[in-house]
């Protein structure tokens, strides 16, 4: 709506679009209203009442986050009556909250603490009676502590409306109303995909990821163990922020330095296997297209879906098992790195693979689930030994008294630390697609010039692009004139829309990239809290900047990738590559039955 209306907030006049909420108008006027259940990325529900305001002409206080403005509206946000009411509301919320803050995962990063501090709450007039009836659910990667839940409903909106996973919902009524799983089952028995988006939006510490930092410390402390760390592309644009620096702080060299300073032996990079993924997945894609277009085979599963995002794998295995053949058989870059560290790297440096531990630092909670899958065991050892989220990595840095900003820049270790800009952009929605196109395009057309495929960039939920192949390289003449259709989806809610359209025959593509989290890995469930689209846009911009500043920006140009094929893997999709770098999928539809 382009119509603007005049609103007065605490005496400040602002012109705002007519469909704005009072809260949005206040933000524009520079008036800060405390909020709890409100989240900029989620639907406004107004169920906590912390953001109440006084509106002239209204008999009762109204929740500003869910109340629309009108022309000439006069709003007050700071009156004695309002302060009293707001204080009572927050005291009531606290009375149902487990106030053991010192040993809470969210201590000092808690929106309820902030509000209590802001409202100067010194005395809670009600008996503190948290819900201890429902025990901590630590059955899965995402862990729920009902005693800390403040009934804001953000997790429910995220799980049901954004991700369409439907693991949590409101149950009960009145005092007993709470966010709960169906039949109060443990999350492991629900359709939860471990994406961790609920953790990202939880204002308190009621939802957290399984803490694996002690395992990582134990590897560091063991002199017999050789530790190899890999860092996901999204970490370089996330760890600075998690350490308290500005949003979108870009810091690959300091990230490697922090790993070394913590005492890990090698700081390598998942970027290396991201480049490798492009070669493996690109080759797989070309094979599928050759079989379908050139050979005219009808049993080839197209579109091919990317398989880098473990939350997406959990989602498709649970909700769309009919599409499992469409998934690329490539393991995710994290799971390619593991077996290569315990074979290729182990042989190179002459270390017994049983003494090597691979530690992943990921923006993701579902990566913990992926790493624990029994099939992720290529050579008799767990491919990846432990996965830490960005937040856990930041916690270790904090515990070790490291001042992240002051670390000296260092380079990652050889040989699995070298990478290209194509690997960096794996962090952003559309990045895997763009990286694949950079390589596949050059193979198919022989044209080395095209670098940036902007239609697949951006934070929109679903992006589509088609490219018609005019010029072909030798051996690919049969592709002349063929229009390649691609699509990119981020968040499983958008993936669902895309899959339903493909299922109904409304859409057809050759190649589809899906990232489970809104915005891609930069918005991953393991990234710094709090988060929002505004913050994600800064992280995404940092990632594109990192790519731009690279000398090498195409995966097939990586000397490390060329070397590993020459010395170890022979060629993309070779027998050995299949053994180590590819996997298979199983239906999890029973979780819905």
């Amino acid at each position: 709506m382009s119509d603007k209306v005049k609103v007065t907030i605490d005496g400040i006049e602002v012109n705002v679009p007519a469909d704005f909420t009072v809260l949005q108008a206040a933000q524009l006027a520079g008036v800060d209203i405390p909020t709890l259940c409100y989240h900029p990325d989620l639907r406004d529900t107004g169920n906590c009442r912390v953001c109440i305001v006084e509106i002239e002409g209204m008999p009762l206080f109204q929740p500003s986050c869910a109340f629309k403005v009108w022309g000439g509206m006069n709003v007050k946000t700071n009156t004695t009556e309002l302060r009293k009411a707001r204080k009572m509301i927050v005291e009531l919320i606290i009375s149902r909250h487990n106030t053991e803050c010192l040993n809470c995962d969210s201590n000092k990063n808690c929106e309820l603490q902030d509000i209590a501090d802001k409202l100067n709450i010194r005395d809670v007039r009600f008996e503190i009676q948290p819900d201890f009836e429902h025990p901590l659910d630590n059955s899965l990667i995402v862990q729920r502590d009902p005693s800390k839940c403040v009934n804001c409903g953000r997790c429910i909106r995220m799980c049901n409306e954004v991700q369409t996973v439907n693991a949590l919902d409101w149950t009960g009524r009145g005092y007993e109303k709470m966010a709960m799983t169906t039949m109060e089952k443990p999350l492991a028995e629900t359709a939860c995909i471990s994406c961790g988006q609920c953790i990202n939006v939880c204002p308190v510490g009621a939802l957290i990821e399984r803490d694996d930092t002690e395992i990582a410390w134990s590897f560091i402390d063991d002199p017999e163990i050789h530790t190899v760390v890999q860092t996901a592309p999204a970490i370089r644009a996330g760890i600075g922020e998690a350490c308290g620096l500005e949003e979108g702080y870009l810091s690959a060299p300091k990230m490697f330095a922090a790993i070394k300073k913590l005492g890990f032996d090698k700081a390598m990079d998942t970027n290396f296997t991201a480049d490798l993924t492009i070669l493996e997945e690109g080759t797989e894609f070309l094979t599928r297209v050759t079989n379908a277009v050139k050979e005219g085979k009808t049993d080839i599963a197209l579109p091919m879906f990317t398989s880098c995002s473990p939350g997406w794998i959990n989602f498709i295995e649970t909700y769309y098992p009919d599409f499992l053949d469409n998934l690329s058989t490539c393991k995710s870059p994290q799971q390619m790195f593991g077996p290569l560290a315990k074979t290729y790297y182990a042989e190179k440096v002459g270390i017994d693979p049983s003494k090597i531990r691979v530690i992943s630092i990921m923006p993701c909670t579902a990566k913990k689930f992926e790493c624990d899958r029994p099939e992720m065991n290529a050579r008799g050892y767990k491919d990846v030994d432990v996965v830490l989220t960005t937040r856990e990595f930041a916690k270790m840095i904090k515990t070790a008294n490291i001042d992240f900003d002051k670390l000296e820049d260092i380079k990652p270790d050889d040989p699995m630390g070298i990478s290209t800009g194509a690997a960096d952009i794996f962090a952003n929605s559309g990045g895997v697609m763009e990286a694949a196109l950079r390589t596949v395009w050059e193979i198919v057309t022989g044209d080395a010039l095209t670098l940036e495929f902007t239609p697949v960039r951006g934070l929109q939920g679903i992006k589509e692009a088609d490219v018609t192949i005019e010029k072909t390289a030798e051996g690919y003449e049969w592709l002349k004139g063929v229009t390649v259709k691609v699509a990119v989806a981020n968040s499983t809610g958008n993936a669902r829309k895309l899959l339903d359209a493909i299922k109904a025959g409304e859409k057809s593509y050759h190649f589809v990239e899906v990232m489970c989290c809104p915005g891609g890995c930069i918005g991953g469930g393991g990234q710094a809290k709090p988060t929002s689209w505004e913050i994600k846009a800064k992280r995404a911009a940092a990632i594109y900047k990192e790519d731009e500043n690279r000398e090498l920006r195409k995966s097939h140009e990586s000397p490390a990738v060329a070397q590993i094929y020459k010395e170890f893997l022979e060629k993309p999709n070779s027998h050995k590559a299949h053994e180590l770098l590819h996997t298979h999928y199983k239906s999890k539809a029973h979780l819905l039955k």
């Binding site: 049901n160 919902d169 409101w170 009524r173 039949m183």
Partner: protein, 153 residues
């Protein structure tokens, strides 16, 4: 206890498939399942209505007339609101608990009765009141309880 899914599908076919019918549909399903809603029944309703299971469960958990625990053949509801309390509804409650050998919310061993509390059922002039299934009994005197229960035994 095995749930007759065919029966649930039959009930569903009596209603036009729109959200607003969930309440009546679930009441019928609950009746068909013997006064409660087993998980299998909720799953079948979720499948038929194309509503996610957690939505159906959340809905069921909101209303006290639905139960996800097995209940007896007849449900006795004792009014706990003001007027009935003034007229000693707790005496009736105690007697029922003793007679059926159950606590509030529990089912008698013969699976005949489940004893529950209810909010006002609108018969304050005849307090204390109880309800057995759809039948309301007013001016319940301790000595009349046995003859009321007899009808259901």
């Amino acid at each position: 206890m095995s749930i007759n899914l065919e029966k649930i599908r039959e009930i569903f076919s009596d209603y036009c498939p729109e959200k607003g019918n969930l309440m009546v549909l679930l009441h019928d399903v609950q009746k068909a399942c013997g006064n409660w809603l087993p998980e299998e029944a909720l799953k079948e309703v979720s499948k038929l209505t194309k509503m996610p299971l957690n939505k159906v469960y959340g809905f069921v958990s909101f209303y006290s007339m639905f139960s996800i625990e097995p209940r007896g053949k007849h449900i006795i509801r004792v009014c706990k609101d003001g007027p009935c309390a003034v007229k000693d509804s707790f005496v009736i409650e105690d007697m029922l608990m003793k007679e059926l050998d159950v606590d509030m919310g529990e089912t008698s061993e013969d699976n005949l009765f489940t004893l529950e509390e209810t909010a006002c059922i609108g018969t304050c002039t005849a307090a204390p009141a109880i309800m057995i299934d759809d039948e309301v009994y007013g001016n319940v005197a301790p000595e009349s309880l046995n003859s009321i229960l007899k009808k259901y035994r």
